[in-house]
Amino acid sequence: MLTETEIGYNSKIEGDVVVTRVDAALNWFRKNSVWPMPMGLACCAIELMAVGASRFDISRFGSEVMRFSPRQADCMIVAGTVTYKMAMCVKRIYDQMPEPKWVIAMGACASTGGMYRSYAVLQGVDNIIPVDIYISGCPPRPEAVLDALMKLQAKISTQPVLENLMAVKTLQNH
């Protein structure tokens, strides 16, 4: 169930105090400080670095802190081709991330295997971990990555936080 609460604020009435629902506040905190864990594997990692650099500034969205330790990250950005040899590591690192966590599959190779239909390439990282946002492109432009981050923020702002406080997201095996 999606929550539709927004933050209501009227400066004439409330002054310096914002009155809202816990759901909205928590989602607002979460979406504006999404700390990505860059699983930078191949060429898309270079565009991810360009997103973090000064021209396409990702820190405007609160995501400047690229945490390489999964235990401190919110969102794993899988940037690049996932081979079968690497797949095990990607899954293990995803499991190490604490809830709430999201995954962005950046680029064609992470989404579906890309142009590498060969014996060594996993055809899409969604075979092993649940993906929230797919970005197309080879490599996607940095603006596309920022657009995906904004879509992720929109998704986060509709998540009912308090109801699922005790639930743990499980991986659907298929």
Binding site: G40, L41, A45, T83, Y116
Partner: protein
């Protein structure tokens, strides 16, 4: 009283790091540490299994292959032109250079690599040198960032964005350009490109001087990289190193001077070599190479036949209907061009049977293509001689005796790319 600690290691890479020292290992003094594939400082997916004695490394065993995508097998199923996008993604820091290397290799097989039109040669040289500056900038930025100098990373990325603008203007894509074709390039320079390139050269040298003031005489930097991981001349040649790693050890070997291709014979530039062969030398060689590349770019801008607008209509593709796609206006109106278009697109360029090897001076080293062709439009066997693969093979030798904190410096100075190493 020493206690025996049992370290259970299941995989062969870790086990091999412990061979030949079984007895000492039973005392449990050595620790096996996995510098895993997901690591901020390994520049991609490289795994090194380290055996440590306190903080000193006694054995290092790199485990590559985490980005092995099967390029060589894919090449056996594609025509020569269809394989060009895959070459972009080999050394993804300098895709224009890989495109030039591959196109030259196939043209050597056809026998036309020294018969290219001069304007095409100058355009390709400019692409290769821009790619060289771009790759060295990122290598430098990542090297500095891993050592803690984060400002250099952001500054170098600002300069790279200018090169991305140039690449986007010429080919349409920032990173994966796929710009060259067999027998020429995709299209001629857009109007205003040479002016933009000249403006980049003018702005780049002051920026490079800024990096020099930040790093070269910086006490912390020099203390961290000087006299680290010295590679002697004999070792460098024996281990097959190439590019700045080889030149940093004092060997004067640059394919642009020793086995010249394209129009490098007509251009003036110097080859920097190091004196000692440590990390500092490799860093200095790369800085100087960027200056020399800017020098080459400025000469090309002045000397390119046809100039900025190509008023004399110099061709940029070999004028052979069996190699270059015909102009679109003729395809649907003239029979011969229609047949050429059909054959080139469906079956590819018909190459003679035979085998060639062509080595190109890439920013990371010598990128070589060994093509074994049995005739037809697809290669029978395409082997990519990747410089990063060969450069990484020296890691077990130079890591021994260094500290853990030096691993980052050594890996940064070797400047490899896993996309190229694993193919």
């Amino acid at each position: 009283m020493a206690t025996v600690q049992d370290i259970e290691v299941r995989d062969s890479a870790a086990r091999s790091a412990q061979t030949a020292d079984e007895l000492q290992d039973m005392h449990g003094e050595r620790m096996v540490l996995n510098m895993g594939p997901s690591h901020p400082a390994t520049h991609g997916v490289l795994r090194i299994v380290l055996e440590l004695d306190g903080e000193i490394i006694t054995k290092a065993d790199p485990d590559v292959g985490y980005l092995h995508r099967g390029d060589e097998k894919i090449a056996e199923n594609m025509t020569y032109t269809q394989f060009i996008p895959y070459t972009d993604r080999l050394d993804y820091l300098a895709p224009l250079a890989n495109n030039v290397a591959y196109a030259l290799a196939v043209e050597k097989l056809l026998g036309i690599h020294d018969k290219l039109p001069p304007r095409c040669q100058y355009i390709r040289v400019m692409c290769a040198e821009l790619a060289r500056i771009s790759a060295h900038l990122l290598g430098l930025g990542a090297f500095a960032m891993d050592m803690g100098a984060v400002t250099v990373f952001l500054l170098s990325f600002t300069e790279r964005e200018k090169i991305y603008n140039l690449a986007e203007a010429i080919s349409g894509a920032r990173l994966t350009t796929s710009y060259t074709r067999i027998g020429g390039v995709m299209r001629d320079l857009p109007p205003g490109w040479l002016d933009q390139c000249q403006q980049f050269c003018d702005e780049f040298i002051p920026a490079l001087n800024e990096f020099e003031t930040l790093l070269t005489r910086n006490r912390i930097w020099v203390d961290r990289v000087r006299d680290l991981a010295v590679i002697s001349k004999e070792d460098a040649i024996d281990y097959g190193l190439s590019g700045p790693n080889l030149r940093g050890s004092g060997v004067e070997w640059d394919l642009r001077k020793k086995q010249p291709y394209l129009c490098y014979k007509d251009l003036e530039f110097d080859i920097p070599t190091g004196a000692v062969g440590d990390c500092y030398d490799r860093y200095l060689v790369r800085m100087e190479e960027m200056r020399q590349s800017t020098r080459i770019l400025e000469q090309c801008i002045k000397k390119i036949p046809g100039g900025a607008d190509n008023k004399t209509n110099e061709p940029v593709n070999v004028a052979d209907g069996k190699i270059t796609l015909p102009p679109k206006q003729k395809v649907l109106s003239s029979m011969e061009e229609l047949i050429h278009q059909f054959m080139l697109v469906t079956e590819g360029v018909n190459c003679p049977p035979g085998e060639i090897y062509f080595g190109h001076e890439n920013p990371k080293g010598e990128l070589g293509f060994y093509i074994h062709s049995k005739g037809g439009g697809t290669p029978y066997r395409l082997k990519i001689r990747a410089p990063s693969f060969v450069n990484l093979s020296i890691v077990p030798k130079i890591f021994v005796g260094t500290l853990i904190s030096d691993t980052v410096a050594i890996l940064g100075s070797l400047d490899f790319v896993m996309g190229e190493c694993d193919r």
